[in-house]
């Protein structure tokens, strides 16, 4: 089974043998890959009970919990990596979640859909409606994305939080693209941070 491109980028950059917390781990695809390939001690957190059940049934250590509240129970620097994939934009307070990520993990990976992608901009500018695109496929009234964020917004948030951007990867059409004008060209981004 092939991983989603943002997860594949993260998997490729996690040092083998480390401790990882995957927040919003879904069905555990990334965790399973990390445990299989990199001998990583992976733990997960997921809100959806049905997804947690699937994770536990495949032998993963996943806790049903809410990233908005339940990260507080992990000790400082309990993990080498804290991973937040496609979840930041659904958080009640993304800034506070980012703080927590950098507290529980030595490093953090964050991936999110880029709201400043040209398709999104065009849909809003010319259509005058909230965009429904390949990267943002759900209508405004039922999307779980409550805090739309752009790549430049995220860079600014990281700076404000005193986080260092160690690396970033950008994707369009499921393929990795260069950093040039990424805020316009990328549908998704993955950032590796530390503090």
């Amino acid at each position: 089974m092939s991983l989603r491109p943002d997860l594949a980028a993260i998997a490729a950059h996690v040092t083998p043998g480390t401790r990882v917390l995957d927040i919003g781990c879904g069905d555990g695809a990334l965790m399973a890959e990390l445990e299989r390939v990199s001998d990583v001690d992976a733990r997960g957190m997921e809100l959806d009970a049905a997804l947690v059940e699937r994770c536990v049934a495949r032998g993963l250590s996943v806790v049903q919990g809410d990233a908005n509240t339940d990260l507080a129970n992990y000790p400082d620097k309990a993990f080498d990596y804290a991973i937040l994939s496609q979840t930041l934009q659904t958080a009640t307070r993304p800034d506070l979640i980012l703080d927590e990520l950098l507290r529980v993990g030595e490093k953090a990976f964050v991936s999110f859909p880029n709201f400043a992608h040209w398709r999104t901009r065009a849909a809003l500018m010319f259509g005058g409606r909230m965009p429904v695109t390949r990267a943002l496929p759900v209508s405004w009234f039922e999307t779980t994305n409550i805090h739309h964020v752009t790549i430049d917004d995220f860079r600014e948030l990281a700076r404000a939080k005193g986080a260092r951007i160690e690396c970033a990867w950008y994707f369009a059409h499921e393929n990795e693209i260069g950093a040039l004008a990424a805020n316009l060209r990328a549908e998704f981004a993955v950032f590796q941070l530390s503090r």
Partner: protein, 370 residues
């Protein structure tokens, strides 16, 4: 009562030191096993039973003739698969199905009755660990328990951390709440208010405090069910009257409502298979249970340095040991850096859900045990 000695019996060779400071000498443990033990003894699973449970987890109860209390979970091809695992289930000390308890004979040849020492959950586990020693099982593949069984699983993990690789705790808690203690006290007072209880010395008489024990069971049984479940099962429906009248009130105190009749049936059925003094001792042990208190007041300390994997499951309609109690344990395990899974499952039947049909529970148990 207390005739169910068809099980295997293990006589604990050493004195069992108890949390109270007393010592239990000559104790025995009645147990059942299912499935073959592997040559390297690595496939043993210990299942811990609940308050009124027993060792007959997957075989017929010798008194009631009913099938095992968790037969839908344990057996060949079941989520806890006895084709692959060697399942051990033992009656806890203090109980009345063959393990040493208040109905057992003391050294003077008469029943202990209230001379039996007050025991704790950890004391029950001391008995279970002694059994594992006797069976030559150094490390369990898993320890599994629901409700009070979950308390034992947690106690084993905290106090004998090398004895189990996996710890599965279903619908349980790390401490008894004021509400939990309050309900148990109602039950105990019902037993002790029964004249036939006779300060616990009823074994040599023809009477036993069945009325009090039945009331205790009725009160407890309500806590095992959800309001939604009771409403769905009984609502305000009335019983058929003995004279054949359907759905009419008696304007008296017969069991007019179906729920009354159900509780009375549960209560009286229970007295056929359970000893009232055992009920006092075991509820006391549960009330004393506070795993954090045993470990300097901090639950995370109980699991410090553990290498076991944990899985906790709660049910959304369980108000006896609600999800918050499981989360409390999960947070402590997170703080201790333990490998832990947790899921709250949706089920209509309250605390009892862990014993009933639940496909998601089956998948979680099977996935975690494998």
């Amino acid at each position: 009562m207390n005739s169910g000695a068809a099980s295997n019996i293990y006589a604990i060779p050493d004195d069992l030191p108890l949390d109270s400071g007393q010592v239990l000498s000559g104790a025995q443990i009645a147990y059942e096993t299912y499935g073959d033990l592997a040559a390297d003894r690595s496939n043993a699973i210990l299942i811990c039973h609940a308050l009124t449970g027993d060792q007959y987890v997957a075989s017929e109860h010798p008194i009631t003739g009913k099938s095992g209390w968790w037969e839908r979970m344990v057996g060949p091809g079941k989520p806890i698969d006895t084709n692959r695992h060697h399942v051990i289930c033992a009656n806890v000390i203090g109980s009345c199905m063959g393990s040493t308890g208040p109905a057992s004979e003391a050294a003077d040849g008469t029943a202990y009755a209230m001379r039996f020492p007050v025991i704790t959950i950890r004391d029950m586990v001391r008995g279970l660990v002694a059994l594992l020693d006797g069976l030559g099982i150094e490390k369990l593949h898993a320890v599994v328990g629901g409700s009070m069984g979950g308390m034992q699983a947690l106690s084993l993990a905290a106090n004998w951390p090398s004895r189990a690789k996996r710890v599965l705790v279903i619908a349980s808690t790390a401490r008894h709440s004021a509400q939990n203690i309050a309900f148990h006290e109602v039950g105990r007072q019902a037993i002790m208010a029964d004249p036939a209880w006779a300060d616990g010395d009823y074994y040599s008489t023809r009477a036993s405090p069945d009325n009090g024990l039945a009331v205790a069971r009725m009160a407890a049984h309500i806590t095992y069910l959800s309001e939604e479940g009771l409403t769905e099962k009984f609502g305000r429906r009335l019983q058929d009257r003995p004279d054949g009248t359907r759905g009419a009130k008696s304007f008296g105190f017969d069991a007019d409502f179906q729920v009354e009749s159900y509780l009375r049936y549960q209560g009286s059925g229970f007295t056929q298979r359970f000893d009232a003094n055992s009920y006092l001792y075991i509820t006391r042990a549960m009330d004393y249970f506070d795993l954090a208190e045993e470990h300097g007041g901090k639950l995370a300390n109980a699991f410090h340095g553990t290498s076991a994997r944990f899985c906790l499951v709660s049910f959304d309609t369980d108000w006896l040991y609600p999800t918050a109690e499981s989360r409390h344990i999960v947070h402590a395990l997170n703080a201790a850096g333990a490998k832990v899974s947790f899921v709250e499952l949706s089920a209509p039947n309250g605390h009892d859900s862990f014993l009933l049909e639940h496909e998601q529970l089956d998948r979680v148990v099977q996935g975690f045990i494998e």
